[in-house]
């Protein structure tokens, strides 16, 4: 793994990988959306509104998976000081926050016809909103810092923040089990799925598709951060050479 922590080697892989992830992700998302909207039947009880799960579930997974990878990047940064981990954490934060917001929005749109309310302060919704704020805090903490001078690595404070914020992930996951909540319990567990197979398969397509898109966005953002850092470094060298 150490070999890929080098930005140059990373770029040699990331560059050709990006269009493949992007293309495959788009195809899967479009296919999954088509299947979810047009091919499978509605739910026996909720009817058509249940179809929002094909966006809601991947968004929730990527919002939470995003923070998990951000925390791992923070740990790698703190312990091994790999130059790429800070860049990865910065690149993950924005799409992670976007998918968390998408999860909250689709949940709210579904909640109105299903439960009869746009928003309630139950354990699942509150902890997911906390995740959104955690992302906002991380973005605030890492934008406008001295990262460009340090090759994109995180400040110690930001890395610790990423790690501490990870506590919220198991809380979101278990919130519907530990506490009475308005949100239903988990449909898909290790024991199986309580979403019938006829409705489940488009979800597989959209989860995989959105995940590939997420990967493509992260790679593109990482490449952009690396390019920015190089420009900044070159400008500094030029300035030094000319004795300005």
């Amino acid at each position: 793994m150490h070999a890929y922590a080098n930005p140059t080697r990373f770029l040699a892989i990331a560059k050709p990988l990006t269009p493949w992830l992007l293309g495959a992700g788009l195809l899967l998302v479009l296919g999954g959306a088509w299947a979810g909207l047009a091919m499978v039947p509605g739910d026996y009880k909720q009817g058509e509104t249940a179809r929002i799960l094909y966006v809601h579930v991947p968004s929730a997974w990527l919002g939470m998976g995003g923070w998990t990878s951000l925390a791992i990047a923070g740990l790698i940064q703190l312990v091994w000081r790999h130059p790429l981990s800070g860049i990865a954490a910065r690149a993950i934060a924005v799409p992670g926050m976007l998918f968390t917001a998408l999860c909250l929005a689709t949940g709210s749109i579904w909640g109105r016809p299903t439960w009869g309310t746009w928003w309630e302060w139950d354990g699942r919704m509150t902890s997911m909103l906390v995740l959104l704020f955690l992302y906002a805090g991380f973005i605030a903490l890492t934008s406008g810092d001295d990262g460009q001078r340090q090759g994109g690595s995180l400040s110690r404070g930001a890395a610790i923040y990423a790690l501490v914020g990870a506590i919220n992930i198991p809380i979101i996951n278990r919130s519907v089990v530990w506490w009475n909540s308005l949100h239903q319990g988990p449909s898909i567990t290790l024991g199986g799925s309580s979403i019938d197979r006829a409705l489940l398969w488009p979800l597989g397509l959209t989860v995989l598709g959105f995940s590939l898109l997420f990967g493509a966005i992260v790679l593109m953002r990482m490449r952009r951060i690396i390019a920015d850092n190089r420009v900044a470094a070159r400008l500094r060298r030029l300035a030094d050479d000319e004795g300005i």
């Binding site: 499978v40 039947p41 509605g42 739910d43 026996y44 009880k45 909720q46 249940a50 799960l53 740990l75 703190l78 312990v79 091994w80 000081r81 016809p113 299903t114 439960w115 009869g116 309310t117 309630e120 302060w121 139950d122 354990g123 790690l163 501490v164 506590i167 198991p170 809380i171 278990r174 530990w178 506490w179 009475n180 909540s181 308005l182 239903q184 319990g185 988990p186 449909s187 309580s194 979403i195 019938d196 006829a198 409705l199 489940l200």
Partner: protein
């Protein structure tokens, strides 16, 4: 010991500490963070008359009665161990129905009836195509609701 091993151990110890604190906090919040109370909790004397609270449970089979004014409904909320009669005047969500979950905001009346100001339907984790929906009882909301 190399510096990076020291940092790794420090990070893991700190992570365990913070994680442990999180678990303790979550378990301490067990009652506080609950979105609603269940009938068995109310039976256990956890609800004072007139105190605003939220009650959650299943609507007992065959228990929904529409009153003569056409707007008030009465039903029994149950969690399998205990049940509480509920009275509500207003419009219920489409998914409200017998043998499915609901959450009601309101307060206990002295006669042991829960008077709700607002009712939400709770959906469970099952998703099925209509032809499999455990016919015929789940096909439609019970008549009169």
């Amino acid at each position: 010991m190399k510096a990076k091993h020291q940092r790794l151990i420090l990070a893991l110890v700190a992570l365990c500490g913070v994680g442990g604190a999180g678990v303790l906090a979550a378990s301490a919040l067990r009652d506080e963070a609950a979105y609603f109370r269940t009938p068995v909790e109310i039976e256990g004397g956890k609800a004072a008359v007139g105190e605003p609270m939220r009650l959650g449970g299943m609507v007992a089979k065959g228990s929904i009665e529409r009153q003569a004014d056409g707007l008030t409904i009465r039903f029994v909320a149950t969690d399998g161990k205990a049940s509480v009669p509920v009275e509500y005047k207003g419009i219920v969500p489409d998914l409200f129905g017998e043998e499915s979950g609901m959450v009601a905001d309101g307060r206990m009346r002295a006669d042991g009836t829960f008077v709700a100001d607002r009712i939400l339907a709770k959906h469970d984790e099952r998703y099925m195509p209509p032809q499999m929906g455990d016919m015929p009882k789940n096909m439609k909301a019970p008549a009169g609701v």
